[in-house]
């Protein structure tokens, strides 16, 4: 296995490098950080649904759609990025996604602990400290390889993240609050930020402990050529904006079990929206806008019915539709 300890890269290169290595079937650990901020969406996400594109364009925030899974993330210079590229038939590769993350996030947990932060694995692929997320991860198959991608959050621009994903002031305020309560960073935990070199060195040691010795990798002409080829593909609008599985409403996730769910219902009396704050997979708070044709009392009743429910988009939406119908409303779409 090779170790590519690459320091700071141009934002597109931070994504292209691990895709290229996977397609070239080069088992490796890549450590790096981005010299600029950008938004990165998962393979099955469409930036038109996930981002405030106007805000991103206006603020020169790049957008990248990666080939691995997970949600929308803001990536900037305050993160150390790690990618593990490993052949899918490697004897250490578990079969299920959960076990893949559980095993290959161990070195990252160990690295956090060596820095003095007691991070723990939380299924499916978060690392948390006292229930607050400190590292988000995603994974997937690229070519013949399985790939893990994640970052060590040194610091985090909560405001920028909220502004990049939500145009509504109200939703943005709620999302910001949820993030501040459920997302922590190395700086918040330690009061200082260790050097990126030190963090990369610890990560390399911990991954070596799990996977054996690594030799120094060099980004040669073959890898560069593949990166250029992929850059062309990933830059096109046909790649970036692809409609996949249509989701019910919009979910903006903070960490596993904590998210904001928002859905607009079109009724014969015009559109109305419901926003639910989800904590530990249960509805914690509910709010309405335009509130369909429901009276204040009926809104309270619906709120009462929804609070505490286990979070399941389909069930939640059906429950709301039923309530609107019960009170003489009609959901038209």
């Amino acid at each position: 296995m090779k170790l590519f300890n690459l320091g700071e890269l141009n934002w597109r290169q931070t994504q292209l490098i691990y895709h290229a290595l996977a397609y070239k079937n080069i088992e490796s650990l890549v450590l790096h950080s981005s010299n600029d901020r950008y938004m990165c969406v998962g393979l099955h996400q469409d930036p038109r649904d996930e981002l405030d594109l106007k805000y991103c364009n206006k603020n020169n925030i790049g957008i990248f759609r990666r080939e691995i899974g997970g949600g929308t993330v803001l990536i900037d210079n305050d993160q150390v990025f790690y990618n593990l590229i490993i052949h899918r038939n490697h004897p250490k590769v578990p079969y299920t996604p959960e076990n893949f993350f559980r095993r290959f996030l161990q070195p990252v947990i160990q690295a956090y602990r060596e820095l003095g932060i007691s991070a723990e694995y939380r299924p499916l692929c978060d690392l948390v400290v006292r229930e607050k997320k400190i590292s988000g991860n995603g994974g997937g198959e690229i070519g013949e390889c399985k790939v893990l991608g994640g970052s060590i959050l040194l610091d985090f621009d909560y405001e920028r993240m909220a502004q990049s994903v939500l145009s509504s002031d109200d939703l943005r305020r709620r999302f910001l609050e949820l993030m501040q309560n459920n997302l922590t960073t190395v700086r918040k935990e330690l009061g200082v930020i260790p050097s990126k070199e030190e963090i990369c060195s610890i990560l390399a040691t911990k991954f070596t402990d799990l996977l054996g010795p690594m030799t120094k990798g060099r980004v040669d002409t073959e890898i560069t050529k593949k990166m250029m080829e992929l850059n062309k593909q990933y830059s096109s609008d046909t790649w970036l904006y692809q409609r996949g599985t249509k989701q019910i409403g919009r979910e903006i996730k903070v960490r596993e079990g904590v998210s904001l769910f928002h859905k607009v219902f079109n009724t014969q009396k015009g559109p109305g929206g419901v926003t639910c704050e989800i904590e530990e997979n249960r509805v914690k708070k509910v709010s309405f806008f335009n509130a369909f044709s429901l009276s204040h009392i009926d809104q309270e009743k619906l709120e009462e019915r929804l609070i505490g429910l286990e979070y399941d988009r389909n069930k939640l939406v059906n429950e709301i539709i039923e309530m609107i119908k019960t009170h003489g409303g009609l959901v038209v779409a």
Binding site: L43, H44, G69, R88, P97, E141
Partner: protein, 144 residues
Amino acid sequence: MLLEVKGMKFPLDRRYYIKDGAHMWLKPEGNLVKIGMDAFAAEMAGSLTFLNVSKRQAKSGEAIGSFESAKFVSRFYSPISGEIVTVNDKVLSNPQKINDNPYNSWIVAMKPDNNEDGCEYIIEGKDEISNWISKEIKRMEGGE
């Protein structure tokens, strides 16, 4: 007729594509072949959140789409060469149907080319399927 191994069901009215742990079932219907994921693949993946078919023409063994579960993207492969004539929109918009009932949840219907590409990786019959699944379970348990 149904084969059941460790709670996972494998109907014997269809064939299975097994190359590199592909775990796809295929069943002819008229001049088309319906293709889906088997119970093992659905069980291993966990709750499916996204499903996408990215090709309209495929060779046997080629990735024709992707699915996501637990923030992990996996690919699924075409057992045969041919044209993808229909995509099952119901499954596409609700991939959890595959978790609920993988054998009623076909993903694509293909018009096969007249060749035997990939046929060495297609198995049928109780004994063959049983041997293969036992090996796969062993492999899975070893890897975990």
